[in-house]
């Protein structure tokens, strides 16, 4: 029992990084913009978090600063892809290279040193005393509650239960029709792309302030790309994305437990599990359950710049 609780607690913590970044990507992709810069945004957010905490010793401030940096770079990305309508794949790759390189260069003074302050667990009364899942799910830091409960439900409600959400999805499916019916396509795309990037920056700070918790070059280690893949696997749905992130948290946790308990597998092989798992998860559903294809369907206008003047 104890080992299950241990794995679950680590899984929740590890999956939170992916969940927050994936929620941001859901926002961007649902309005028709694919942001492949998540990896770079997370690197910038991770460094911002560490740097802010080393100056102020406040993890909350570090998280907020990372959200801000993510938002800023998200605005740059949206400026290029939404306003200037440049190629989204190229701009995303550019953002990944820029963010990773910039964070690695600027982060040298912080390399290897642990975070000065981290998010402390805030147990929820009664719930945290539940057997097995109690301490894993309800005895975590407040970001975990935000990422697993508040944000996904809020985004789900916004996207699927409000008129504004309908407009959002219309922009991602058919921007010309949305435009014709008076929905501000450019504005909706711009702000949700920037907001999504902001969450990616926050995911980086979560990584260095709650999960790892220290800065090193390459600390993001492909988690941004795994988050992008999760969004595809989750069929662009916030609740499913968070559930999928938890599954990947479990895979990561299994690797940790395997190393700690000396399973007869090389640690390097265990570290490969999240990447191999991601590849399997985005290939297998398409191959195995063809009837589920509509579930995995991407927004029809995804990655297509909208030109009102070109027909």
């Amino acid at each position: 029992m104890e080992i299950v609780t241990g794995i679950l607690a680590t899984a929740v913590l590890a999956g939170g990084v992916l969940a927050l970044a994936a929620l941001g990507e859901v926002l961007a992709e649902r309005v028709g913009v694919v942001n492949l810069g998540v990896e770079g945004l997370m690197a910038l957010g991770a460094l911002t978090g560490i740097a802010t905490v080393s100056a102020t010793a406040s993890p909350t401030l570090g998280f907020v600063a990372a959200l801000g940096v993510g938002f800023l770079f998200g605005c740059l990305f949206a400026l290029a892809t939404v306003l200037l309508r440049a190629d989204q794949v190229l701009c995303g790759l550019a953002l990944t290279l820029l963010g990773t390189g910039l964070a690695a260069t600027a982060g040298r003074p912080y390399a290897g040193s642990p975070a000065k302050a981290t998010f402390e667990p805030v147990p929820i009364p009664y719930l945290s005393e539940l057997p097995v899942v109690g301490s894993a799910l309800f005895s975590q830091n407040w970001l975990v509650y935000l990422i697993y409960f508040i944000l996904p439900i809020a985004i789900h409600w916004l996207m699927f239960k409000t008129r504004h959400g309908l407009n959002m999805r219309a922009v991602g499916e058919n921007p010309a029709a949305a435009d014709a019916s008076g929905i501000p396509v450019t504005a909706i795309r711009f702000w949700y792309v920037a907001l999504g990037a902001s969450l990616a920056g926050g995911a980086g700070a979560y990584l260095t302030l709650a999960f790892v918790p220290s800065w090193s070059e390459g600390v993001v280690a492909g988690r941004g790309w795994i988050a992008v893949a999760l969004v595809i696997f989750a069929g662009y749905r916030p609740l499913t994305a968070v559930a999928a992130a938890l599954v990947f948290g479990v895979i990561t946790a299994l690797g940790f437990v395997g190393q700690a308990r000396g399973w007869p597998v090389a640690p390097a092989i265990l570290s490969m599990l999240p990447y191999l798992g991601t590849i399997a998860f985005i290939i297998l559903p398409v191959v195995a359950w063809r009837r589920l294809k509509p579930f995995f369907a991407e927004p029809a206008a995804l990655a297509r710049p909208y030109h009102r003047d070109v027909r």
């Binding site: 690695a104 991601t278 398409v286």
Partner: protein, 350 residues
Amino acid sequence: MGWRLQRTPSAHRAAALTGRILAILAALACAGIVLAMTGRAPIAMGADFWDTATGSTAGLEDVGLLVTPLILTGIAVALTTRIGLWNIGGEGQFGIGALAAAAVGLHLDGPEPVMLLAMAAAAAVAGALWILVPTIARAYAGVNELITTLLLNFVAALLIAWVATGPWRDRTGGALAATLRVPYEMPPLGEAGHWGLPIAVAVAVVAAAALTFTRFGYETRVAGANPGAAVYAGIPVRARIVAVMLLSGAVAGMAGMIELAGTAHRLQGGISNNYGYLGIMVAVLARGSCLAVLATAALMATLLNAGIILSAQGLNTSAVLAVTGLILFFTAIGDELAHYKLVRRPAPTG
């Protein structure tokens, strides 16, 4: 009469070229401003770099060593862009190619030319195998190749680090986290160079010729430009996708072998050195043209060399990666703006 901007379906060549030059200048200007803001002297650093890099044959040969892998990883990406896809797993295929070459070089014996050929063949096959799953998934299930090829880079890095620090580690030299020195080397060329450069140039020329003059190349280009029309014209699009992506992986793998046998000589964790990612930049700047890759690879090699030379002043290859990202960003914007032209139109009547 009035003037207005009109978007054309394809970018003008001259406009795209101008856009690239402006993108590079803008990116360097941004980097310079950031350097100046952090209390360094960008102009003096640039001059310093220029003297070191071009002042001697050795400086030019250093660029030659950097340009060789960049040409090949650039070709690897350029090939896939011609069929409308992205292989951004060059970094991993490069490393796996080096790993396969090291495996052959460390564990088999034979005359040097035979061994070098065997290492190259092993590297090409390993590179192609490394991209096999993303290729099949793309061609037959429509799975986005960007993410699958990229994620395998991390798997490759873990595998190489494990092999180089574990099973194959050099236990004679002590502290080195690398394998034993591979006894087979590329034949030297000049003082510090080796035959990798002419081989890379030859690969680029052959790839360009194949794309331009052969039926295979023609079908590849049609499949990339308009997959629907290609299917309608009876071109086996899936088979072409498989062939092009496997070739791309093989070229990236070959690059790893040349780096191992020509420059690094030992398999170690950082052997790919971002060459795979910089290859994306090389291919984008060259607009997918295999001959233009030669020029853009030289440009990126110069930039990388600047990072190495200026590392004494707190720069490193990560800074080069950041500047590369900026160039890519501005190039993407420039490419879109190159679609626009200023046209005259009659003033609206009534």
